[in-house]
Each structure stands twice: as structure tokens, then as C-alpha cells.
Amino acid sequence: MARVLILVAALVPLFGQPIDYSLFDKLAEKAKESAVVNLGPEQLTLLAGLQPKEGGKELAELARTLKGIQVRSFEFDAPGLYDPAAVRAFGEKIKAGGAWNALVSVKEKDGFTEILIRKGADGKADGLLILAAEPKELTLVHIDGVGDLAALARLGGLAGIPQLAATGAAKKKEAPRKAPEKQEE
């Protein structure tokens, strides 16, 4: 029993480990263009101050469930300015923690895309991570607190936020359904 408790105690930090973005932060200097978003709970609570008529109410509602948003998106002048293997290792390390599962994994000879979701203690998805690596582009999107792209999609058009175009998520109107995770390669 004591061994089990020790094992559980050892694994708990792995689940709650914050993601280290330093690998990406170092790349900003090398990038031709970069977009970085760093939003924590404190910033997200500010959305409550937006005008309701501008869609601020819906945004504020989502902000209550959001814990953070991290985006690192870089465009490089030429291939080889970052190490794809390091980025892949970054993704593997996150998955190795056990909390994240790959929903979609697309591998190509010159890049890959992974969509990971994290299940919370209650079994509901509470985190979404998109990692896309191409020879001249690298993107990381981490949305903490929401594992539902449809929730983001519903924000499209509200308060000047663009529509989430891809994947049909924006079209979502039917009741959400639970499905097993899929991994496609």
C-alpha cells in the first residue's frame, strides 16, 4: 500500500507539470515573423469588463473557464533555423506525462502536426495543445481550461474575433458527443 502511495505521489507532479515554452521563446530571435500570446488567468478576468453588446458577455463567460492561452507562432526565412527533432521531443515529453493524449497526429517527411487534449480529474477535456512544425513555420497553441474547439469557434464573430474556419468546428450546432480518442498517422 505504501509503495502504491509513493508511486502515486511521484506521478502527481507529472500530471500537473506546467509546460516549459523556453524552447520556443529562444526561437523568436531567429524568426522572420513571430506571434506570441501569453495570457494568464489575471488577464483573462479582464474580459469581464468588455461591453456586453459587443459580445463581451460570451467572451467573459468563456474566460471564466479559461485558465490560460499560450501561442508561439514563428515564420522563418529558410528551413533549418530550428530543430524539428527538439520540437518533436517537446511533444513527446508532454505526452509522456500521461495527462495529454494525441487526438490527431499527422506526420510528414518535412514536418508534423499534433493536436493533443488533456483530460481533467473529472474526465472532461480541459486543455488543448496544437503543435505544428513545418520547415519554415512553427506553431504552438496551448489553451488551458478548454478542451473544446467548438467553444472557441462560437466566439467567432463576437467582439471582433475571427471565425474559426477549419475543421467544421465552427459549424457545430449538434449536441456534443463523447468519443474515444483517435490517432491517425
Partner: protein, 117 residues
């Protein structure tokens, strides 16, 4: 005493200095002082009122400024969320394109969304 003398006598009597009753001056001054005090706000009260008015005004300006700052910050957050949605959308569209090229019709992101907001 003829009429003229009588008139002169009466005139003199009229102009004769008559001493005021004792304490009249003090009483007049006292009354004047009391009425002056009744009409004026005490200095400390006036100072306190001025401070209160100035403080209230300052507080109002500070609140307004704070509210404006919060609105600006909220607008910045909104812009960052818009950027996030834009980048997410672009990235997913590319991934979808790749999946389509290998025969998968749609990224099953909706299947991750079993949480209703």
C-alpha cells in the same frame, strides 16, 4: 422768553449730548458678534468640506482613469484571443489539408468537445 429764545433753548436741548446707558456699547458689540458667528461656517468645517469635495473629485477621476485602463487592457486581451483564434484556425486548416491529402475528410476536433459551455 420770547418765541425766538424759546426756540433756541429747545434747539440747544435737542443737541445736548446725552450719555448712552451703561453697557449699551458692550451689548451692541456682543449682538453683532453673535450674528456674525451665526452666518459664517467655522473655518475647520469649511476646510473639511473643501477637502471632502476635492477628495471626492480626485477619487472620481481616479476611478474613471482606472476603468479606462481596465477597458484598454481588456481590449488587448480580446485582440490576443482574436490572434489565437486566427492562428489556431490557420494551423488546423493546414492540418486538415494534409489529412485530406491522405484520405481523411475532417479533423475530429468536435469529438474532443464533449463539454458544453
Amino acid at each position: 422768553m420770547n418765541g425766538m429764545e424759546k426756540f433756541e433753548h429747545e434747539l440747544r436741548e435737542s443737541f445736548r449730548r446725552v450719555e448712552p446707558p451703561q453697557g449699551l456699547e458692550r451689548r451692541i458689540l456682543e449682538r453683532a458678534g453673535v450674528s456674525r458667528r451665526r452666518g459664517r461656517m467655522p473655518r475647520w468645517m469649511a476646510a473639511a468640506a473643501s477637502i471632502a469635495i476635492a477628495g471626492g473629485g480626485l477619487l472620481g477621476v481616479m476611478r474613471w482613469h482606472e476603468q479606462q485602463m481596465r477597458l484598454r487592457q481588456a481590449e488587448q486581451v480580446r485582440q490576443q484571443i482574436a490572434l489565437t483564434v486566427e492562428i489556431t484556425s490557420r494551423t488546423l486548416a493546414r492540418a486538415e489539408g494534409r489529412l485530406r491529402s491522405i484520405g481523411v475528410k475532417q479533423i475530429p476536433v468536435q469529438e474532443a468537445s464533449w463539454r458544453e459551455y
